[in-house]
Symmetry: C2
Subunit: 203 residues, 2 copies
Amino acid sequence: METMRKAGRPRTFDPDEALHRALMVFWERGYEGASMTALQEATGLTAPQLYRAFESKERLFERAVRLYQDEYGFGLRPDLPLTEAVIEYLDRAAREYTTEPGLGCLVSTGLLATGQDAEAAAATCRAERDQALTGLRQRMTEAVTKGELPETADVAGLSRTVGALIQGMSVQARDGAGYEDLAHIVTAVRTLLAAFGPVSEAR
Amino acid sequence: METMRKAGRPRTFDPDEALHRALMVFWERGYEGASMTALQEATGLTAPQLYRAFESKERLFERAVRLYQDEYGFGLRPDLPLTEAVIEYLDRAAREYTTEPGLGCLVSTGLLATGQDAEAAAATCRAERDQALTGLRQRMTEAVTKGELPETADVAGLSRTVGALIQGMSVQARDGAGYEDLAHIVTAVRTLLAAFGPVSEAR
DNA sequence: AGGGTATCGTAGCAGTCACTATGGAAACCA
DNA sequence: TGGTTTCCATAGTGACTGCTACGATACCCT
């Protein structure tokens, strides 16, 4: 399916590629730390080009976050039993956060404290974090109804705990931790969860 | 012990109070988000007053972080058995991060991604986080030699895990979580650790 | 009283921020 | 070919950034 030809002078650049490069800058430096001039240099574009294609720095950031979620985002695998899914989730985070750019998670540690001018961008990240947390909680309530977890299980607590671990791993990845460092966390959690192995397999 | 009287026109303000108010601004908005004008307004001081007293924005931030650690910082209580100390630590974090300003931990979530001009301030926070992690690890190696933990215990893993939980709790506090929310994490961890209760009490 | 010293308030520094006005150029359709 | 549309590149915009020169002022010590 070909994109409809439109009138007017055609673009001389690929917006998707520009967005990807902008994402990398945001990922590395955060929203406030990524100046428009830095974004221009990284994309090889002029300011008007960026603004015509993405409207504003905030919108560009929103698009970048969406691209990040599409390209690098992940969640609990639905095809695994809950405890295994949690372990796989944490291990995947340990791997993803420490490989390639090694900058942790853009959403988790991207935008936490800012000036009031970046309020909208901060809200974008906050919403994304809330959504991730909600996803965890939903999966766990499912697990209770499926009998994977006992009725007495503290769903809110477990989901927030896993979320906190992910976010903390992102912080540590930003501080230079490698996979082998974060993998220790995964094994520690595995050991802790192993004590509940019989529970997770009982119905 | 009186502070030595010195020559020159005396200060018309209390540097400690100014530092405290500056800390609050940094805490709320982060290093980059806290503009000098915002700091001036919060302290009620002029720019030259701030600069004569604190040299630069970076040094002011360093001082603020040190004050933060003195005033709000905490660690594992050495007078408790390890597992209890961990629980107390997490519960205290849940309380501290969500009460008063409710902004989480300045160090954990203060400065993660920034432009290159804030590199020094970011290094300050990173060093502080490393130190916290080291403190946890030392306490746990002690616990192994004391027999509180088995020789096979993964000290690096446990310390990083507790650190990650703390950092994650700070993120969630910034996102608006209250004590009751974070307390769920504490109880979840307590439940998980309870499975190892016999271990922590065996020698 | 007068020198030494460190503060004061006013005013403004150069540089960067995100963003845009403007006129020409390259595609479309009639 | 003319009209329309959308892009291009150049060159800025005002507002804000962290920071400081400057002359006056208020304390100490001799």
